[in-house]
């Protein structure tokens, strides 16, 4: 494995399977009464969050703590960032404090990539702008594998705001590495320009794709990133691309429904679908801790890979 996890494309098939297999073993830890391993004792993980986040930050914090690492949480609010400190100066501060890993979420695509050139420790991308969110893709793949077995040849449909979604891009890259066939479904206005070069199919018609899907993953409509009118009304979006009871009935019996959260209930997913047994939304959160433990263990648990500051 590489020293950093910045893009799902950094992972070879063997790397990805190693992470998922490791997570499979670590999943048992959360069923034990002592949910802690001594493996990363004495190592420091910094959570550097420039954007709001509930589950990802808590999940990384829980993962690091279960491996006995020391965790330092940093959020842009209430830090020197609000006084105008640059990312580089923040990075140098962390470097001086001796962080072994930096988990970063940033509103700008590419921020983790820049950070990796300034710090000695491992950089883990916890979401950068509209670019990537590789640990989300890993936990999604892990959840699918637990429900469905091997992902080879599985048909996975990702629906919604692909344009603003880092989850979609990371999932397409990772799932195609793992041998799944991914189809993206969205209104034409919510596809990025470069989508033709992604290793997946695209479609504008959700109802045509549903009967052939093993997994349907709904994406959140990211109103906060929308600076133009991408669809006429919420109601029209919900009618054509929302997952309601009737659409779920058209899916194969074994197919599962996923959502990376946070959900807009009633917009991209109906409340009764989100709460149904076919939905893995709560499982995804639990699996997030396990998968991130596997990532932190594989990046930090072994010998120092000898990173040099560039």
């Amino acid at each position: 494995m590489k020293r950093h996890l910045i893009s799902a494309a950094d992972l070879s098939r063997d790397d990805a399977l190693l992470i998922l297999d490791t997570a499979d073993e670590l999943a048992k830890i959360s069923e034990r009464s002592i949910k802690k391993l001594p493996t990363l004792r004495g190592r420091t993980v910094v959570n550097l969050f420039f954007e709001d986040s509930t589950r990802t930050r808590i999940s990384f914090e829980a993962a690091a703590k279960r491996l006995s690492a020391d965790v330092i949480n940093f959020s842009a609010k209430g830090s020197s960032v609000s006084k105008g400190e640059s990312l580089k100066d923040t990075a140098l501060t962390l470097e001086a404090m001796g962080a072994d890993a930096v988990v970063i979420r940033h509103g700008a695509s590419g921020a983790p990539h820049r950070l990796a050139t300034w710090v000695r420790g491992s950089v883990v991308n916890a979401g950068d702008g509209t670019h990537e969110h590789p640990t989300q893709a890993l936990l999604d793949a892990f959840t699918m594998r637990r429900r469905l077995g091997s992902l080879d040849g599985r048909k996975i449909t990702i629906v919604g705001d692909v344009l603003h979604s880092r989850v979609a891009r990371s999932n397409v890259l990772l799932l195609s590495t793992l041998g799944a066939e991914v189809t993206l479904v969205a209104p034409p206005t919510l596809f990025p320009v470069s989508v033709d070069s992604w290793p997946c199919q695209i479609s504008y018609d959700l109802d045509a794709v549903l009967p052939k899907s093993d997994v349907v993953m709904m994406l959140r409509v990211q109103r906060e990133r929308m600076n133009a009118a991408f669809f006429p009304t919420e109601r029209e979006y919900s009618r054509r691309y929302g997952l309601d009871r009737d659409r779920v009935a058209r899916m194969p019996d074994e197919a599962i429904v996923m959502h990376p959260g946070p959900m807009n209930r009633g917009m991209e997913i109906a409340a009764e679908v989100a709460d149904s047994p076919r939905s893995t939304i709560v499982e995804q959160v639990a699996n997030g801790v396990t998968t991130r433990m596997a990532v932190l263990y594989l990046l930090l648990g072994g010998a120092d890979l000898g990173g040099e500051i560039q």
């Binding site: 297999d21 594989l298 930090l300 648990g301």
Partner: protein, 193 residues
């Protein structure tokens, strides 16, 4: 140290010394099974925990022998110690083995740890730490197919298949049917690895 079967056979044919062959291993395991029965008063309340990979196969074989002699099946599990090792930082992160405890757990039981080769004792130390997080056994005992000496910690086995005086430059390699297609314990010189 990853060997293919072909390597093993070519080693065996050239200069590596086979210390134990299949029947020897079998006899050793039968004796250990009897010793376990004797020492634990009929193997009441015992749990055999193998350390992956080959310790798990050995634990299953011991359980099969005990079932044959006493007609009672003893619980068998596996205990991966990777996350508890003290040498993790010396090599790149490694893949984890499987940890599977019997349904009744290990609380109040006599746990017999089973490993193929006992050497520095560091694996056993890791196993004791791991057990600590999993429950509170009444007692912990240790069975090893081969004890090659050179302990670096105050740890001793309760049951030994064969005491094998070695030099530190030698390598002891255990092959088991379940994993490697045949049973043998080989002693290799450093330059043959």
């Amino acid at each position: 140290m990853v060997f293919s079967l072909a390597d093993a056979i070519s080693h065996a044919q050239s200069s590596a010394r086979a210390v134990l062959e299949g029947p020897d291993i079998n006899r050793a395991l039968i004796r250990i099974s009897h010793e376990i029965l004797e020492r634990t008063k009929g193997a009441q309340d015992i749990v055999l925990l193998g350390i992956p990979t080959r310790g798990v196969h050995l634990a299953h074989r011991l359980a099969a022998h005990i079932r044959q002699f006493e007609g009672r099946s003893v619980p068998v599990g596996s205990l991966d110690v990777t996350m508890y090792r003290d040498d993790l930082r010396l090599r790149p992160a490694r893949a984890l083995g499987r940890t599977e405890l019997p349904a009744d757990g290990i609380d109040g039981k006599i746990v017999v740890l089973v490993d193929d080769v006992l050497y520095s004792g560091r694996t056993v130390r890791s196993a004791l730490d791991a057990l600590n997080d999993l429950g509170r056994p009444q007692a912990v005992q240790l069975a090893a197919l081969v004890d090659r000496g050179h302990r670096e910690l105050p740890i001793r086995p309760d049951y030994v298949g064969k005491n094998l005086p070695t030099s530190k430059s030698e390598i002891v390699k255990v092959y088991l049917e379940e994993n490697d297609g045949r049973d043998a314990v080989l002693l290799l010189k450093e330059d043959e690895k």
